[in-house]
């Protein structure tokens, strides 16, 4: 592969290589493997086109007005209440990009991710994957979809079966989807171990309790990759890890993305980690996206008062770079008692009457702000 300066070219090149790899692998593989590659041919060809941050490219994933409401009993004889875990989230995720999803606990970021992976059924809205509404898919096409979308959990210790050796954990997705014979599956498992930096040893025979935290998370990622997915939802994948190990996993994720042309939805509460991984970031507060922007814009000039507080609260390691910290008043309200109007008004230093009465909408921050979106009355003067 020729050395290229431009990041997008490099990415496209990497993807072309990966596609070639995949084709070669499929050729050497079994009937099922080849069939899958054939079925995917149009999208492979499409992904060969140079990746550029072009908004007009059809997004790989489109989330439209997604909601997840729970009816909760209020306790002793009280009326039932509605917990709005996710309340009208719309996002488009482009092929090959990493969209970061940040917010504090209870903001609905994991629920959004789980719905995108079809681990949870939404109560409203829809999810389009390659332009197809995933809700209607049944049987074979539903199974196909599950191969394309995979989920990596925060705690691999809890999400991996402790009674199975690593090789079996990695083989399982192939078994479920009836891919390859025994030898073919063993080969793929060995290849995957190699790819995640645990090859050539006895890792296949070990159990999860014999692995370190970082090694376990590698297995969690490997298991998600066994079915050669296009879209990976990474839910706090490094939150349980120490800094020195965390960086290994972040490097691995970036490397895999470049080589395999993966698309990531990266969920995290750690703003440094999200910055490092993402191309664009969506900030969530109480079930809604309050701001959506390119990473640099978001960190250098956050628009929403909540984003401003979040960004200012990143503890700066370099004492000279330290910014004035904005300390918000009060607690995050409960999702079963979301404040009226703008949900953030109870903690917002700039709240005025309109914020208490009317909910703002996520829309372009200014006429020429391009794709940047913010949901705040402070910026609605332009409309």
């Amino acid at each position: 592969m020729p050395q290229v300066e431009c990041a997008s070219d490099a990415r496209a090149g990497a993807r072309a290589d990966a596609v070639a790899d995949a084709l070669a692998a499929a050729g050497a593989g079994t009937g099922t493997g080849a069939a899958r590659t054939d079925g995917d041919a149009p999208s492979s060809a499409e992904s060969r086109s140079p990746f550029a941050e072009k908004p007009q490219d059809p997004p790989l994933v489109e989330i439209e007005g997604l909601t997840k409401h729970y009816r909760t009993a209020a306790g002793f004889g009280g009326a039932k209440r509605t917990l709005r875990a996710v309340d009208g989230v719309s996002l488009a995720i482009r092929r090959g990009e990493t969209l970061g999803l940040v917010g504090e606990s209870g903001c609905g970021k994991s629920t959004t991710g789980q719905m995108a992976a079809r681990l949870l059924a939404p109560t409203g809205g829809r999810i389009l994957f390659r332009g197809t509404d995933v809700a209607g898919l049944r049987g074979r096409s539903s199974k196909e979809l599950r191969r394309s979308i995979q989920y990596v959990f925060q705690d691999p210790y809890a999400s991996l079966n402790p009674r199975l050796p690593v090789s079996r954990l990695l083989e399982e997705p192939l078994l479920i989807h009836r891919i390859g014979d025994k030898r073919e599956r063993a080969r793929r498992v060995e290849e995957m171990l190699e790819r995640i930096g645990l090859g050539g040893g006895t890792f296949g025979n070990r159990y999860t309790h014999e692995l370190s935290g970082g090694q376990r998370q590698r297995i969690g990622i490997a298991r998600a990759l066994m079915l050669e997915p296009e879209f990976l939802i990474l839910d706090e994948p490094v939150s349980a890890l120490d800094v020195s190990v965390q960086s290994q996993i972040l490097n691995l994720l970036k490397e895999l993305q470049a080589r395999l042309g993966l698309t990531y939805l990266f969920i995290s509460h750690d703003l440094n980690v999200v910055h490092y991984m993402s191309d664009r970031i969506a900030v969530m507060y109480l079930g809604k996206v309050v701001e959506l922007a390119e990473v640099r814009e978001l960190y250098e000039k956050p628009l929403h008062p909540y984003t401003q507080a979040l960004v200012s609260a990143i503890p700066a390691e370099n004492r000279r770079e330290r910014r004035e910290r904005i300390v918000l008043k009060g607690d995050i309200p409960s999702a079963s008692a979301v404040p009226s109007g703008c949900a953030f008004h109870t903690r917002c230093p700039f709240a005025f009457d309109r914020c208490r009465a009317e909910a703002p909408v996520l829309r372009p921050a200014a006429p020429h702000e391009g794709e940047r979106r913010v949901s705040c009355h402070l910026y609605s003067g332009h409309h």
């Binding site: 020195s244 440094n272 503890p315 390691e317 004492r319 904005i326």
Partner: protein, 355 residues
């Protein structure tokens, strides 16, 4: 920040502390040769990754070690008096009154079956012999101080009715109730959200400024440590491997482990770079050999690092005295930037006198 070493004895002086774990397979040192001082009003950070012994260290200061662990060597001095190694009675006079502690998870540190009021008044009634009413009034004033809303009503509530951030404020209020001179905060914000963490860190800063309370802050989060501390001790596998002021450690770290940790943190400036990661894992208790405990993961390790324990070298600072010397004081000396590494010993500590 503390400027120069003072004549007065340090508030807390840990000397050559060794804590051992007894198991069926023998006794293992969990902490070894720990030297650390905290001056009155100073904020000292202890940073390290999981398993480095930072929490064991903070527990050992108040006699809260689990039954299988005990202090086997060294001593802990508090205001020039020696703290007991064990014994409930002896610690009871100090705990809460002189040295208070807050933990990572406020939910599990408070008793779910007792009201906030019962728990917030227990210590002042015991230590300060306040009446029930006085203790309640005292608690209410402290709740106000730490920024808790509707403090009177709070006394009758139970822990489950409060959010994590509020509970941590309650814990801080309880910890402050006897006006301790030293507050040990073990990962006080790790379980909290970013904006709530910011609130708690601001509160700790206010307490430090208004009451002159010294803080020993234990954390794995370099950002929190950098933000809060005057001096920092970096721990690795049961030892302090580097100690210095915040500036010294973040601007010119000398131990390869400290350097590695700093480079591994993803910061906006490193967006386009591959992050440095430290290969391998922390050696388990029974895997710690005779040499440097970091040697198996260190890019600069030589045979000497494998074979013999590195000396503690003073690389700069106002500690006085010569460079190299194992243990005893070099790492503790206030104001000194010291490191436990052969590399620094070779490059020569400051001054070069040590031959």
């Amino acid at each position: 920040m503390l400027s120069a070493p003072t004549e007065a004895p340090p508030l807390l002086d840990i000397r050559d502390l060794r804590v051992e774990l007894t198991t069926a397979r023998g006794r293992w040192p969990v902490l070894e040769g720990i030297d650390l001082r905290v001056e009155p009003g100073e904020t000292v950070g202890i940073v390290g990754e999981s398993g480095c012994g930072k929490s064991v260290l903070s527990l050992s200061l108040l006699g809260l070690l689990p039954p299988a662990m005990r202090i086997s060597e060294g001593e802990i001095r508090y205001e020039a008096g020696r703290l007991p190694r064990e014994g409930e009675e002896a610690f009871r006079r100090i705990r809460g009154r002189e040295i208070a502690m807050i933990f990572q998870d406020p939910m599990s540190s408070l008793n779910p079956a007792l009201t906030i009021g019962e728990q917030a008044t227990e210590m002042t009634r015991l230590h300060l012999k306040l009446t029930k009413r006085e203790a309640r009034e005292h608690a209410v004033s402290l709740f106000r101080k730490v920024g808790l809303p509707r403090p009177e009503a709070l006394l009758k509530e139970y822990p489950h009715q409060l959010s994590g951030g509020m509970l941590q404020r309650v814990m801080i209020a309880i910890a402050l109730s006897c006006a301790p001179k030293l507050l040990i905060a073990d990962e006080p914000t790790t379980a909290l959200d970013v904006t709530i963490q910011a609130q708690i860190l601001e509160l700790l800063k206010t307490i430090r400024e208004e009451d002159g309370t010294a803080i020993l802050l234990v954390s794995h989060d370099l950002g929190v440590i950098a933000d809060m501390c005057d001096r920092i001790a970096v721990m690795y596998a049961g030892q302090v491997v580097e100690v210095g002021t915040a500036e010294e450690l973040f601007d010119s770290p000398r131990h390869p482990y400290t350097q590695g940790l700093l480079q591994a943190v993803p910061t906006p400036a490193k967006k386009r770079e591959k992050l440095l990661s430290i290969p391998g894992t922390v050696p388990a208790l029974h895997e710690r050999g005779a040499g440097c405990r970091f040697h198996s993961r260190c890019a600069y390790a030589t045979e000497r690092c494998l074979l013999s324990a590195p000396p503690v070298v003073r690389v700069s600072g106002a500690g006085g005295g010569a460079g190299a010397g194992t243990g005893a004081g070099a790492l503790a000396a206030t104001g000194a930037h010291a490191v436990r590494c052969w590399l620094a010993a070779e490059e020569g500590g400051l001054p070069h006198a040590a031959g």
